[in-house]
Amino acid sequence: MTGILILEQALNGLQFGLMLFLLAAGLTLVFGIMDMINLAHGSLYMVGAYLVAAATAASGSFWVGLGAGIVGAALFGVLLELSVLRRLYARDHLSQVLGTFAILLMCNEAVRFIWGSQPVLLSPPESLAGPVELLPGFYYPAYRLLIIGVGLAVALGLWALITRTRIGMQVRAGASNREMALAMGVPVRALFTALFGLGAALCAVAGGMLGPLLAVQVGMGESILILAFVVIVIGGIGSVRGALLGALLVGVVDTAGRTLIPMVFESLFGPEVAGNAGPAVASILIYVLMAAVLFFKPQGLFPSHG
């Protein structure tokens, strides 16, 4: 029984980690290359999820909805970059934090205005709503397996894009030394806009995939944004490889901590104490991990700056 419990938790951790990676990848590129702190990244995740939900409701198909939502979110990201964020690159981090925080608040209110404050319905496709028997006696939700599959596919695609294409080369050049890349004639403005669109699309993939599992609601982006920041700090700012490893680490540690620590506490002190102390200790675990990584590798696991 414990074998199955551990296997299930490992899969849950992998699933959560991969979705975190989708968010963190966009965030780390924007932060690493443009040197821009974007608090509105969580809003792109929320807007993406809402667009997927709306398109799914309109078309009746989750896949069409997902596709339309991703395209819509990418357009939204590009628009945001062209209209507002572009003006913030040259400013200091405080202005960026204030500016993007304002965008976050405006996005929340706009979404509330359009869709209302009640959570929006987004269901997984009918064929994936049930469980799959992975091992004899071990059922795992089909939809979570799909999330793992999509996450791996996107990670692979990103890897190919960054290591095997010209754009990827420019991105890597930008991340390790922005001034030099500029001097070598990288079309920075267009690259930034494209990157931002890509980041937004990745957010929409995460939002759309997690929507049926979590909830499509106002404010859904804030809590996950904090975790995404932890991920990129652990992984090394600007490094996609670091974001992947950091995300998987955070996903697995978070999931394992939330299961195992309350269980240990419950057997030691009873359910009330486990309820109070368990989640608190479990959520501290991620930050302990972050502190430990920063202690030994202050630049993160895979620093991309020279």
């Binding site: 419990l5 299930e8 404050s117 269901s123 979570r144 979590l214 609601q217 359910p271």
Partner: protein
């Protein structure tokens, strides 16, 4: 020169005394309007609950032509953001600046406990349209607090009894880690006779229940009881079904986890879930039929129990205004009129216990597809008749 400073305060004192005498001799004047502070959770994940209370309350005012108890009614709506701090500040403003005659609307018990003290201190009546913390039912009961909803434990007691009656022996319990979550599981265990195989208190903002589901799989209970309001329940149920656990264990919940707001978000997987409530949209009484029809017409959706509570809170206030002939400054008379609760409740019989909490029936409902193809609740029967809460014995409100 010496006398001057004395003369002035003396005159003032005389004036004040005269004014005081006049004030004493005049009977409470009938108000020409009623002002109600509706402080509720209108943003964040709990917003759906507050919106339904507000809509239910305003529907009652609207159906009465903008009046309650015959007086023109102004409802001042404010958002507590589900935060005790914000709630307390806003309540202060409503009571002191807007000088409302009644307060109502709070969803969450932790906000209620913060708002109670300043409201009662200003001798403003609070009519609860949802939160019914055990504190206010027992030792901290207050002449100015009336619950037009329930006491927190009640609905869970009804599920505890149902689960026992249906012959389930091993039950796993899950509730959020906050005061009403503990009231909930206490209430459940008060009436459940079998074995509790696991008891989890989860964070109030938890959305991914993967860890809890693996624990359930390992513990192998034959029934699961969840008190997870709003978005929490929506997620749990979706994931519970997705993990294939619904085949091995039966899911039970209070009305909060099985009402229209959750059904709307979860859909088909809700079918067959048992839940309990003091109200259902198919209860067969004239007041309820009028309410449900009007609500659907006005807002284009079925009402939830929160909406029904908001509607009843408005009706209760209306009855008090009517029976005191608008003399809202006569606190003793208002209290008496509220205690009498002479209104047609949408839940049928309704009366107050000595602690100002209702003595009422609790029903078992099951989620089905109705004749119109909608997924919704159907009432199966009565679990408790004239059920009172367990704390009334500790309440010592001085008689009126």
């Amino acid at each position: 020169m010496n006398a001057a400073p004395v003369r002035f305060p003396l005159r003032l004192l005389l004036c004040a005394a005269a004014a005081g005498l006049i004030g004493l001799s005049t009977p409470a004047l009938a108000a020409d309007a009623v002002k109600i502070g509706l402080l509720s959770t209108l943003s964040g994940p709990g917003a759906g609950l507050g919106i339904d209370i507000r809509d239910g309350f305003q529907l009652a005012v609207k159906l009465n032509g903008g009046k309650l108890g015959g007086l023109p009614t102004e409802v001042v709506v404010a958002d507590d953001q589900a935060s005790p701090d914000v709630g307390r500040q806003t309540a202060d403003r409503l009571v002191k600046r807007d000088k409302v005659d009644f307060m109502t609307g709070i969803v969450f018990s932790n906000v209620m406990l913060a708002v109670g003290a300043p409201t009662f201190a200003s001798k403003t009546f609070y009519i609860s349209a949802n939160a019914g913390p055990s504190q206010y039912a027992g030792e901290q009961c207050n002449p100015f607090f009336f619950s037009a909803s329930y006491q927190n434990d009640n609905m869970h007691e009804a599920v505890g009894k149902t689960v026992t009656d249906k012959g389930f022996k091993r039950v796993a319990l899950i509730a959020p880690n906050y005061p009403a979550g503990k009231d909930a599981l206490t209430g459940f265990k008060r009436f459940f006779k079998g074995e509790v195989v696991s008891e989890s208190y989860t964070p109030l903002n938890l959305l991914d229940y993967g860890a809890e589901l693996s624990k359930l799989r390992a513990a192998k209970p034959d029934a699961v009881y969840i008190f997870l309001p709003g978005g929490l329940g929506i997620n749990f149920i979706k994931q519970f079904v997705g993990a294939g656990l619904s085949k091995d264990m039966t899911l039970f919940g209070p009305g909060f986890s099985g009402d229209e707001d959750v059904i709307k978000a979860v859909g088909e997987p809700m079918l067959g879930m048992f839940n309990t409530s003091q109200w259902a949209h198919d209860l067969d009484n004239a007041a309820n039929k009028k309410f449900v029809t009007a609500f659907e017409k006005e807002y284009g959706r079925l009402p939830t129990l929160y909406a029904a509570q908001g509607y009843d809170a408005a009706q209760l206030i209306g009855a008090a205004v009517r029976d005191t002939k608008g003399k809202l400054d006569d606190k003793a008379a208002v209290r008496k009129a509220l205690e009498a609760a002479k209104f047609d409740s949408v839940r049928g019989s309704f009366k107050f216990n000595s602690n100002h909490f209702p003595v009422q029936d609790y029903y078992l409902r099951v989620i089905i597809k109705d004749s119109k193809g909608r997924i919704t609740n159907r009432t199966l029967g009565t679990v408790f008749k004239n059920h009172a809460d367990a704390y009334v014995g500790n309440c010592k409100i001085p008689a009126n």
